[in-house]
């Protein structure tokens, strides 16, 4: 568009997901591919997801709770500290909720 000079201002903390939150992709946000890469498509663009981010998002099916996601990931990465995993998952989901890519 002729108007691509967008910016966002003023960001304060948003509520973190709780242990019982059931995160899912927000309406109109979905998986896609770009070349070989897995991406999440949303109205303004796409994010390339890989590594931990991809592992988290793939578990966000609107059924599993945050606690279940943390348990699954902690088990998958044998040595992972569940408290640390929970912190990473919460942070990641909160950032995506703010962009309106994830709901919980």
């Amino acid at each position: 568009m002729a108007s691509t000079g967008r910016f966002s201002i003023g960001v304060l903390s948003v509520s973190r997901p709780s242990e019982t939150s059931q995160p899912r992709l927000a309406p109109g946000c979905r998986w896609g591919t770009h070349g070989e890469q897995q991406v999440v498509l949303f109205p303004e663009g796409m994010i390339r997801v890989q590594g931990t981010g991809q592992n988290i998002l793939e578990l966000c099916d609107g059924q599993r709770t945050v606690q279940e996601i943390v348990t699954t990931l902690s088990e998958r990465y044998d040595a992972a500290d569940p408290a640390k995993v929970k912190e990473d998952v919460s942070c990641f989901l909160e950032a995506l909720q703010r962009k309106r890519i994830v709901d919980y």
């Binding site: 002729a2 108007s3 910016f7 003023g10 927000a26 703010r98």
Partner: protein
């Protein structure tokens, strides 16, 4: 190396039931009989997908003025594109919306002119406000992304807070508060649309407050009017770099307004593959990269961020598309913007618009 485009803006028709005074369509609109057929559009979407494009933005005019909108959405979706419908909502009933969603629509972007009925009618030159509200209330039944687009300018910015509360009630995930951009019909009406500095300041404060209040519920994006910015916008993310626009008759343009630039030849997707147009056509190469840049852009650190601003705006305001966009505070022609801003501060008693017309 030329990067692949990421998005295709498909202006599927210039027909529109509204006559908004800030319409960014060209003053010379494409006639209905020149419009691409359903099959031609779908072929273009397939080529776009093969070229690496991810997003398809269906716009116009009013895209719902095309009876085959559902087929176009299905064509885009089946080609693997993320489909976005940019609409006034006029002509979309609940039943039709259900069919568009069924066809694969991912996102609807619904425009509002105002929070109030009378001013909305005054700006659009037509009735449509109540219809838009009714449609907005239906959209949430569907699993698609919903953005409300609110165009702001001098005539409505005095009640920006009310307008934000109004759009919030419609429960979109996103609100885009877009200052009118001065191309096409908006440039004709610039003296009555350009906000005052006080209005702009108040608007930014109101937006910031709303962003804090609605964080996590509604994402609010605000497009700062480039007339008040220090540096130009990265128009289209750089000429021939991210985006491609196809007009109703099949001409491929690097920017909405590029048709105003004298001497430009636009190739038509009826005659050339999309990939050839992107990589080889003269129009897409004209301002690609940095070779064309004059000073002060050529030696400026910001040239890789804003790409010298908008070529069409440079043409419209200075008569030369290859100059630095005059909205840049470093442009030797920046006085043109300062003059326009001063005019915005003087009182206009009588507003007389040029309403956007329609072609046959």
């Amino acid at each position: 190396m030329i990067p692949n485009p990421l998005a295709l803006i498909a202006e599927i028709t210039h027909r529109c039931p509204l006559h908004c005074v800030y319409c960014s369509n060209p003053l010379q609109l494409a006639a209905t009989k020149a419009e691409l057929s359903t099959a031609e559009w779908i072929r273009a979407f397939q080529e776009a997908s093969r070229l690496g494009i991810l997003h398809l933005h269906l716009t116009g005019g009013e895209p719902a003025a095309r009876a085959d909108l559902k087929d176009l959405i299905a064509g885009g979706h089946q080609a693997g594109l993320y489909t976005n419908l940019i609409t006034s909502g006029i002509g979309i009933t609940e039943a039709r919306l259900a069919r568009l969603v069924e066809a694969g629509l991912d996102h609807i972007q619904l425009s509002f002119q105002d929070s109030r009925d009378e001013p909305a009618k005054w700006i659009a030159g037509a009735n449509g406000h109540a219809y838009k509200i009714a449609l907005a209330q239906k959209i949430r039944q569907f699993q698609i992304a919903f953005t409300v687009n609110l165009v702001v300018h001098r005539q409505n910015l005095d009640h920006i807070e009310e307008m934000i509360e109004f759009v919030e009630q419609l429960q979109p995930e996103r609100v885009e508060i877009a200052h009118a951009q001065y191309y096409g019909w908006a440039l004709k009406n610039r003296d009555t649309l350009l906000p005052t500095p006080q209005q702009l300041e108040n608007c930014l404060r109101a937006v910031e407050e709303a962003q804090i209040r609605l964080a996590g519920k509604v994402r609010i994006d605000c497009v700062v009017p480039d007339y008040y910015a220090r540096y130009p916008k990265a128009c289209m993310g750089g000429w021939g770099r991210r985006l491609m626009l196809i007009d109703p008759s099949g001409q491929a343009l690097p920017c909405h307004a590029a048709g105003v630039i004298p001497g430009m030849q636009f190739d038509n997707i009826r005659e050339h593959p999309l990939e050839w147009i992107w990589r080889e056509s003269a129009a897409f190469q004209r301002f690609r990269g940095e070779q064309w840049m004059p000073e002060p852009c050529r030696s400026c650190d910001r040239r890789t961020e804003d790409f010298g601003g908008c070529r069409c705006q440079a043409l419209l305001l200075t008569g030369d598309a290859s100059l630095t966009d005059p909205v840049c505070s470093l442009s030797p022609n920046h006085h043109l913007i300062e003059t326009a801003r001063s005019a915005a501060e003087s009182d206009v008693e009588q507003v007389s618009w040029s309403y956007r017309t329609n072609m046959g």
